[in-house]
């Protein structure tokens, strides 16, 4: 199959690769870019384990073609921490025991990262709705909600300090 050249910014770095047009973004990230943080849980957009951030939106990479990312700014869980300092959502999930097997976690983190930019001061119910595109089989969500609230508070403090 003839390949297409696609260029994007991936975790802040310019990337240019030749891909089969049918290559899903999740396979491109995991197999070509060796970014295995985002996972494949369903391949039907239901579970959210593959969630990444594209141009300021949460996107399920299992049903998104790589070629759709031409010129886009793509961020994965590997790009969350900054120079070794964990992002507030990562810190929140750690401190509030918001993960168990860890398989949904990269998707949860990327969704929380975007959700808290869209709604920096959410209620618990808003967190539940905002995170409802991401499934977790281990935690029962209660600590995930706490983790996102924890991150919201930390981000607000950071904003005040800045």
């Amino acid at each position: 199959m003839s390949k297409k050249i696609v260029s994007m910014h991936l975790n802040g770095k310019a990337v240019e690769e030749a891909v089969e047009p049918r290559t899903l973004l999740i396979h491109f990230l995991r197999e070509k870019m060796n970014l295995t943080g985002a996972h494949i849980g369903c391949e039907t957009s239901h579970c959210g384990a593959c969630t990444v951030d594209i141009d300021g939106q949460s996107v399920k990479a299992c049903t998104h073609l790589t070629v759709q990312c031409e010129g886009s700014d793509v961020k994965t869980v590997e790009g969350l921490a900054n120079a070794g300092v964990l992002h507030a959502v990562q810190e929140g999930f750690y401190k509030e025991h918001g993960l168990q097997c860890g398989f949904c976690t990269p998707g949860m983190l990327m969704r929380a990262y975007r959700f808290l930019q869209d709604n920096p001061n959410p209620t618990e119910q808003e967190v539940r709705v905002g995170m409802s595109g991401n499934l977790c089989r281990c935690t029962g969500y209660q600590n995930i909600v706490k983790a996102v609230m924890h991150a919201a508070a930390a981000l607000q403090q950071q904003a005040v300090a800045a």
Partner: protein
């Protein structure tokens, strides 16, 4: 030097501390290492051609078109595996299962052929191109139909075999009959009892559905003759033994690695055709082969749970004292008996069915049956068939209470095994280790203001304008976990012990290697806490390794809540061997007798002299460099723990539901879960496990169902249809606990992660049925989806 004792204790972060998880750093930075993350040089991909029909003869398989697709390397069928005698494989339950369909398919989505290709896209193209011609046969989906005299023969390979792995087969679709208890005394008790109740119920077919599906990366090195396989397995050592038996490769040359596992819940105990095919392909091709199933394959073919058609009966006095229990079960095992049970019990620990109650005599009987459905019968977040048993007895106690007009809490209290009766031997022969049910029940009833709830319910029932039906569910369950004593539990003849090897390094840090494997339970965190407390080494410097059969001691793995009861005990025992040696070294170093020493948190000190001590770190150094004469150097130990008994965690759960009278939609207003798992190692992790188990229980009770149409087509095998609750539907959980340690366990711990699943499911049903109890309804089957509840509302004339 002499910091306060409490500071020294805190510094260890040992048992009882809510220690944050050691494994999280990699998971929150996208650096977990799951099977699908494994990439090997020269690796190829495998995909599976699956049956489109449920029961058929295979007339022809045409590989031609598939082999022409660029990237496709090979297409293999049962015919190709036959010369290797690998087209069938043994199951954990003593049956055989087809690796690739041999002349016949027995269920929809059964493995028919495999395609190996250079990448996953070409493999998928290849699967599309393989042509299979079927001659369809009559399909049997209902196990009662399967047992009719003229039912189609499903397993032609067993023709004429009247003796199965568990005794006599009385019908061509019959697998086994298993019973326990005393039939005569139970029948006699029923014949003379003043009150009897009987209820049929179905525990539907469901699936554990961990977020990561099953998969493997097999790599055979033809030069060295060594096979390495990364696999999503909850029991890597068992896989090694089975792979060695099947392939003929010596066990010493088979290395099985369970890396990070994205949830198991029983789905990853069995050995599936996909694993075997990946291994065979690697041996044939001499290249690493990756196979990862997709979600539809996962829900359709690997590991269903439950599917028990149960009849429960209780005999009682008129004032509610239970005299006898009797149950009869038709167990639908699908096409092959691949039930994951310790082999001596084909129905697992179903005979825990007498529950938390002092029942003088009891009898249970289970008949296993073949149907045209996927094989399995795994323990979905529970000990083998305990969920089914707990559901049955808790439902029956409710049914009896309703018949007698008694309160659910009152009838339970009346029949509890009393605190002073422990250790208690049940009518089925289980010896319950410890319990204090009444204290726990009282705590819950007070916490939720049970009387107030009942008053509110009475007021709502009296008000015809109330838009909702209010139901209160109560369950007081006992689990049996920690399989198990090898005199009664084994898998393929291997006793169900578990193991731990601890090495303390010269500078006082340590590594522990285990026969279990975490799938999210946080073993790297909690196991280190046990060692920290036992040996006085800070948990921060204790590494815990699991899952690599080349380095870990042999163990039976993680399922059935056995990690803490069995492996947790092995840790304590190994640590105590080290402790005993350390004491000898300390005595030698301080030139006193061992009798003069006492242990204090992280050191041995001379009795009565706080200034004279040796810390474990000092002892570790000395153990390598200046051991006492006659004592071998080093500070390490290994322990294989064969538990003397199971453990019996228990819980009291209460749930309040409000059901919309018009739509059947249910709001879980409140769920209060009190668990007693004995000694608590890490309360933060326990609470997390309980939240997760309750949520899985909620999913099973309120929506999960794998159903089939008459042609055997599986319905709802995607996440569009199969109910996995999101954060929106999931209720808020309230947790509580009491602590009744296990007297036979070295640290008193009982295991916890499955109790919330086992206990919550009947609690939801109890609450749902309770909402209709004043209308004469005694039971309806799960799942309690809005549509089904609405049908119930219509049946009693509430909804139109």
């Amino acid at each position: 030097m002499n910091a306060p004792l409490s500071d020294r204790e805190k510094a260890l972060m040992g048992m009882g501390e809510p220690r944050l998880r050691k494994e999280d750093a990699r998971f929150i930075q996208g650096k977990g290492n799951y099977v699908d993350d494994i990439k090997m040089p020269n690796m190829v991909h495998m995909d599976i051609v699956r049956s489109s029909v449920a029961h058929a003869r295979i007339k022809r398989i045409n590989k031609e078109a598939a082999l022409k697709i660029p990237g496709v390397i090979a297409v293999l069928t049962a015919e190709d595996l036959k010369p290797l005698k690998l087209h069938w494989m043994p199951t954990l339950a003593g049956d055989v299962a087809a690796v690739l369909a041999d002349e016949k398919v027995h269920f929809q989505m059964q493995e028919v052929a495999i395609v190996i290709a250079e990448d996953r896209y070409s493999a998928a193209d290849g699967v599309e191109a393989v042509e299979v011609e079927y001659e369809e046969l009559p399909v049997v989906i209902d196990p009662f139909e399967a047992l009719k005299p003229d039912a189609p023969v499903l397993r032609e390979d067993l023709a004429g075999k009247t003796e199965g792995a568990h005794g006599k087969r009385y019908h061509h679709n019959h697998i086994f009959t298993w019973d326990a208890g005393n039939k005569e005394t139970t029948d006699a008790a029923f014949a003379s009892a003043p009150v009897t109740v009987k209820q049929d119920m179905h525990y539907p077919r469901v699936h554990p559905c961990p977020l990561e599906t099953c998969g493997a990366v097999a790599s055979f090195d033809p030069i060295r003759g060594e096979l390495t396989t990364y696999i999503t397995s909850q029991a890597p050592h068992v896989v090694r033994t089975v792979v060695s038996m099947l392939s003929g490769i010596p066990e010493s040359k088979v290395r099985i690695i369970s890396p990070d596992i994205g949830g198991g819940f029983g789905n990853k105990v069995g050995i599936y055709p996909g694993y075997v095919c990946a291994i065979v392909s690697s041996i044939v091709l001499g290249r690493p082969v990756k196979w990862v199933e997709d979600r539809i394959e996962n829900l359709s073919s690997t590991a269903f749970a439950r599917d028990y058609h149960m009849t429960g009966e209780l005999a009682a006095t008129t004032d509610g004292k239970i005299l006898a229990l009797r149950t009869n079960v038709i167990a639908d095992h699908g096409a092959f008996d691949a039930c994951a049970d310790p082999t001596k019990f084909p129905a697992g620990m179903f005979h825990i069915v007498s529950g938390s109650y002092d029942i003088p005599t009891a009898y249970c009987k289970v008949d296993g049956v073949y149907t045209n459905k996927a094989p399995g019968g795994v323990a979905y977040r529970c000990s083998f068939r305990v969920t089914e048993a707990v559901y049955l007895v808790e439902r029956m106690v409710d049914v009896l209470a309703q018949k007698l007009g008694m309160d659910k809490a009152e009838i339970r209290a009346k029949n509890f095994i009393k605190r002073e009766q422990f250790p208690y031997t049940s009518a089925f022969g289980f010896e319950y280790d410890s319990g204090d049910y009444q204290t726990a029940l009282d705590k819950v009833l007070t916490a939720v203001d049970y009387k107030g709830l009942r008053a509110e319910q009475a007021a709502k029932r009296a008000d015809p304008h109330c838009p909702t039906l209010m139901g209160i569910g109560l369950v007081t369950f006992t689990e049996v976990v920690g399989a198990g004593p090898s005199k009664i539990c084994d898998i393929l003849g291997v006793g169900m012990f578990d193991s731990c090897e601890i090495r303390v390094h010269p500078t006082g840090s340590a590594i522990a290697r285990m026969g279990t494997i975490s799938q999210g339970q946080g073993h790297q965190t909690t196991y280190a806490q046990i060692i920290a407390t036992e040996l006085g080494i800070p948990s921060e410097v204790i590494q815990v390794e699991e899952g690599d059969t080349n380095t870990a001691p042999y163990g039976l793995g993680t399922y059935g809540s056995r990690s803490t009861p069995v492996a947790g005990a092995a840790i304590a025992m190994a640590a105590r061997k080290i402790h005993a040696k350390a004491k000898k070294i300390a005595a030698h170093l301080m030139e006193v007798s061992e009798a003069d020493l006492e242990w204090e948190i992280d050191r041995f000190k001379v009795r009565g002299d706080d200034a004279k001590f040796k810390t474990m770190a000092q002892i570790a150094w000395a153990s390598y460099n200046s051991p006492p004469p006659g004592l071998e150097p080093g500070l390490e130990a290994v322990h294989y723990y064969d538990p003397p008994n199971f453990t019996f965690p228990f819980g009291i759960y209460l749930c309040v539901v409000d059901i919309d009278k018009g739509t059947g939609e249910t709001k879980i207003r409140r769920f209060y879960a009190l668990d007693d798992c004995g000694t608590r190692i890490n309360p933060m992790i326990i609470e997390g496990q309980i939240h997760g188990g309750l949520t899985e229980g909620f999913a099973v009770a309120m929506g999960q169902l794998l159903s089939f149409d008459k042609q055997g087509n599986i319905q709802g095998n995607t996440l569009m249809d199969y109910f996995l609750p999101t954060a929106v539907e999931t209720p808020h959980w309230e947790t509580d606990h009491t602590v009744t340690p296990s007297p036979h366990h070295p640290i008193g711990a009982k295991g916890v992660a499955e109790s919330p699943h086992v206990g919550s499911i009947p609690t939801f049903t109890s609450a749902m049925v309770d909402a209709f109890a004043h209308l004469g309804v005694t039971h309806f089957n799960m799942p309690h989806s809005a549509y089904r509840v609405w049908q119930q509302l219509k049946a009693v004339g509430i909804a139109s």
